[in-house]
């Protein structure tokens, strides 16, 4: 272990020397060595309405719902630049809980990513939940996320796994009124993989520089959880979604359709 570390350190030292010699030839527009930050602003809504706790929203099939909890896990955020290069945020820091209760007055939840390589980025991709590679690490590299997920109720206590999304509230149908609604979807160990990734193109280029910290406004349409690529009716059992082998992949696929980039601020 130690030896390996030293080797790495020496390699790193060598890398610095070689980096600086490269810099001599750079022109003034060269972004080499520059880094900047990007803020992803997650904004939950339902169709064309902003999402507000306790408000009743209609869905298809004359069903409706209101929520008291709305949280999901975002991980593996990566940006692709205009030349096709991908910048993957460091794995150990690349997992976040988006909790509507943490929103500002406008209901936006910020995820700020530091030290991104300066570039002209054209798209962002991320996953909802925890992928199998990260799960297979066990505790390794999880740092404080285990505590955070556990404290936020994003972990099952009866099984070792993460809830990728947590929606708690009530629903009504033509025959039922204000019945409990609980959607706690996640992967189930290695037996069922519900992790999905989405790639969103930016409407205009996101310019990351030493002196520029762009913001990306991402809308998440919660209606798509139930009315996404597949319609999931409460009357058919989608009022209680936990680990069901048939229901959970449908919710996972639906969630994958709920994100869009509304606009980008380059400042």
């Amino acid at each position: 272990m130690k030896l390996l570390k030293y080797t790495f350190a020496f390699l790193a030292c060598a890398a610095i020397t070689s980096c600086s010699s490269d810099d001599d030839n750079s022109d003034s527009n060269d972004l080499t060595g520059q880094t900047g930050e990007v803020t992803l602003k997650f904004d939950n809504g339902v169709g064309d309405q902003d999402f507000i706790f306790g408000t009743t929203y209609n869905k298809s099939n004359s069903e409706s719902f209101q929520l008291e909890t709305l949280k999901y896990i975002i991980s593996n955020v990566a940006f692709t630049d205009s030349e096709g290069n991908t910048f993957m945020y460091p794995t150990e820091d690349n997992v976040f809980i988006v909790d509507e209760a943490d929103g500002n007055n406008a209901g936006e939840i910020y995820i700020t990513l530091n030290d991104l390589d300066a570039a002209d980025y054209v798209s962002v991709s991320f996953g909802v939940g925890i992928d199998q590679d990260r799960f297979a690490l066990g505790a390794d590299g999880q740092g404080d996320f285990l505590d955070e997920a556990s404290d936020e109720g994003m972990m099952w206590s009866w099984a070792s796994g993460y809830k990728f999304i947590k929606l708690d509230g009530t629903f009504s149908t033509s025959t039922l009124t204000d019945e409990p609604l609980n959607v706690h979807m996640g992967s189930v160990g290695t037996a069922l993989d519900n992790y999905r990734e989405v790639t969103l193109a930016f409407p205009n280029t996101v310019l990351v520089r030493d002196d520029a910290s762009p913001e990306v406004h991402i809308k998440a349409d919660i209606a798509k959880v139930f009315d996404g690529s597949t319609t999931a009716n409460f009357a058919d059992g989608y009022d209680q979604v936990h680990t069901d082998v048939n229901e959970t992949p449908i919710i996972a696929d639906n969630i994958n359709t709920m994100f869009s980039v509304h606009h980008v601020h380059n400042d």
Partner: protein, 348 residues
């Protein structure tokens, strides 16, 4: 910009390390886990959690540490006692904080590095994450991960132990779970009379009745209790009558798949003679009762394993009296006293 300063920092570290080594610096001592020749391949990935003496010792301290529970009294070892292959001897169901009673019988902790899933219904598929289940269960240890870290961080002995055990030295959940895994990974039971017999060590032989039992075992039991771990690690419904008080659906809880109703993980039989009571709810106190059940007690609860279907359309494994007697004689050869008395795993 972060990258370059980080590298510089590493360079500085290299030079400063040389200076430090003149004073006394703890150097991690790697330790090896056994891979007995009659065992299948290890499932646990040691690359993500290299075993060291300090990591193992910390894991042991945590295993016997009451602070992992909300009332400070329920350590892992409360339900996992070494003398009984780390089970809760004599208790059908596990107990916890504030007099809570669980739903299932505490399973042995042995040969964990070779297991692909944990808990009776396989609800943990990584050893590192398994302890979260009993720790956060309200009826077992009833504690939160962040509370534990707070308690351990306030303890100077633990600060020092975490510092020695891990490169980043932090008292964190990640390191706590890694240390617990290091302790459990090392708990290998592979030196029973049977092991020495199959590995032809120390001129160990089995008696006639033990050999007859082994023979019956191979004919009637190894399709589930396979390999020298004595489990094929699958989930099966063995036809136990459903206890309406618990209505434990087993593996069904995990994927809510009707095909998984009343299925439980095939348990290893190592140290089985000392780890009763038996079955997921500990309903059988002796091995005799277990074998009587397989012979004549299984019922059709709707989803029984087809391997147990007999020609007369009943479920079970037909066993005569001598087969039962010899099977038990054989099962006793799986008791590994070296493991049960191994001081490395003992509290005191």
């Amino acid at each position: 910009m972060k990258r370059i300063p980080l590298f510089l920092f590493v360079c500085l570290l290299v030079s400063s390390c040389n200076k430090d080594s003149e004073t006394e610096v703890y150097v991690p001592v790697p330790i090896q886990v056994e891979w007995p020749e009659n065992f299948p391949e290890m499932a646990y990935n040691l690359d993500n959690n290299p075993l060291t003496e300090a990591g193992f010792e910390l894991g042991k301290d945590l295993f016997y540490e009451g602070k992992l529970s909300s009332n400070g009294a329920i350590a892992c070892a409360f339900c996992h006692e070494q003398a009984f292959a780390f089970t809760h001897h004599g208790h059908n169901l596990s107990h916890g904080v504030n007099g809570g009673v669980g739903f299932r019988n505490a399973q042995p902790i042995q040969n964990m590095a070779y297991q692909t899933s944990f808990m009776w219904n396989g609800s943990a598929s990584h050893l590192d994450l398994q302890p979260i289940i009993p720790i956060t269960s309200e009826i077992e240890m009833g504690e939160t991960l962040s509370n534990i870290i707070q308690k351990l961080s306030a303890d100077s002995e633990y600060q020092e132990k975490f510092d020695r055990a891990f490169d980043d030295g932090e008292v964190s959940t990640e390191n706590m779970l890694k240390a617990l895994s290091q302790f459990m990974v090392m708990m290998v039971s592979s030196n029973s009379k049977y092991d020495k017999y199959v590995r032809q060590e120390d001129n160990v032989t089995l008696s006639t009745i033990e050999l007859d039992g082994l023979n019956t075992f191979q004919q009637k039991c190894t399709s589930c209790h396979a390999t020298d771990l004595f489990t094929d690690q699958t989930f099966r419904n063995n036809g136990l009558p459903v206890n309406p008080l618990l209505n434990d659906t087993g593996r069904y809880e995990i994927l809510e798949d009707p095909n998984d109703l009343y299925k439980f993980k095939v348990p290893s039989l190592r140290n089985v003679a000392v780890s009763g009571p038996y079955m997921h709810d500990g309903r059988f106190a002796t091995l005799e009762v277990v074998l009587d059940f397989y012979d004549a007690g299984a019922v059709d609860n709707g989803n029984v394993d087809p391997l147990l279907l007999r020609e007369d359309n009943t479920y079970g494994i037909t066993l005569n009296d001598y087969e039962k007697e010899s099977l038990i004689a054989f099962l006793k050869t799986l008791t590994d006293n070296e493991f049960l008395e191994d001081e490395r795993f003992a509290e005191y």
